[in-house]
Every structure is written in C-alpha cells, then in structure tokens.
C-alpha cells in the first residue's frame, strides 16, 4: 500500500513538473514569454471561432479571454494548455508508465 502511495506521489510530482515547465522556460529564455502570448492569442481566437464562428460575438469573447488568459495569467494559461495537450494526445499513459518504470522500479 505504501508503494502505491509513493507511486501516486511520484506521478503527481511529474505532472506538477509539466505544469512548471513554462515558468522554467520563461525564466531561462525571457523571449519565450512573447512567443507564448502570441501563440495563446492564436489558440484562443481559433477556439472561439470554432465555437461561435467569425463575427463580432467571436471577437468580443476573444478579447475577454485574451485579457484574462494572455495579459493577466499567460504562463499559468500556457502551462494548463500544455497539460491539456499532453493529456489530449494520450501522452498521459506514457508519462505514468515512464514514471513507474524509472522512479518506482517497475511497481
């Protein structure tokens, strides 16, 4: 039971490290902040356009979301986007398997 608890803790730490990756990147390369913001604006616009289509309503929602997600909390938003993408492409299983193999000796 303790081994299972340790494994859960280790996998949780790995996911927290993935969440912390954008902060690390921005700390090492400050230019990445601007790139992340541009990328987030494109992503938000495409997502809103997919929901409501092109038009004034789409622009309005995009502006509100860009203010909160890009101007106020850009790094947090990017780390959440990164985690969602990692989970969405099915890499979560790979991470769990890798964490189990490398840190918990195959338990």
């Amino acid at each position: 039971m303790n081994e299972r608890g340790n494994l859960l803790l280790i996998i949780g730490i790995v996911f927290v490290l993935i969440l912390a990756l954008p902060w690390l990147v921005v700390a090492i390369l400050p230019q990445a902040d601007l790139l992340i913001k541009i990328f987030l604006v494109f992503t938000i616009y495409m997502m809103v356009r997919g929901f409501v289509g092109p038009g004034a309503l789409g622009i309005l929602f995009t502006v509100i979301l860009v203010y909160f997600l890009v101007l106020k909390y850009s790094t947090l938003s990017f780390s959440v986007w990164l985690l969602i993408t990692v989970l969405g492409v099915g890499a979560g299983s790979i991470i769990v398997f890798g964490a189990r193999q490398f840190f918990a000796q195959g338990h």
Binding site: F68, G88, G92
Partner: protein
Amino acid sequence: MPALNAFTALLGFWDILSDFDLVMKIFVLLTIISFVNNHIENQNLKLIVMALFAYFLLFDLWQLFLPVYGLYILLMFGFGGILVDLFFADVFRQHHAQGMEEGEGAHSMEILERQHMLRQVQQRFMRHPPRGH
C-alpha cells in the same frame, strides 16, 4: 507583518480564483452557444433556448454545474486514461501474474499429465489388444 503578507497572498489567490470562475463561465457560454447553434435552426427559438440555458447554468445552478463541466473537460482530455493506468492496469497485471503462478500454470501441467497418461494407455492398448477382436 507576516500576517499581512499572508492576507495579501490569500487575496491574490482569491483574485485568481475569481478570474478563472469568470473564464469558466465564458467557456460554458461558448459551449452553450455552439450546442444550441448545432441543434436548432429557428433564429428566435435559438435565442430563447440560449438565454434559458445561460440563465440556469451560469447563474442559477452554477455551483452545481461547474464541477460537472470540469469533470467533463477532464474526462474529454484523457484524464480517465490516466486513472485507468494508475488504478486498473496494476490490478489486471497483478491478477494476470497471479493467474500464471497459481491457476494457468497448474492447468497446463494437468493437461500435460493427462496427455502423457493417454499416450501410455494407447501404447499399452497397442501392445496388448483386448481379446475377441
């Protein structure tokens, strides 16, 4: 002074939560608009249904709907796969390993023993056929 710092930090965290609550409301509103647009053709009916959905989900039942929507988002993005990997894959692997040790291995040995006994009976029958044939 540390208490004041902790209080301001708590206020900052509360601000973040409040902002993300608004962001989640916008995401839910986008989902409602997309859902109604895809299902209803009539323009007036579309607006009425959107308004009803928005009122009930965003204002009336928001405390109930936010966890449901969060769970839906998590499951949609593959969080269920991680839970299966964490809690069920281990159980299946242990069960399989246990089966190999206790059940299936013994079963294979029994089959081998039975085949061996059958072969011995056949050889004995070939050497000493029953009388009357």
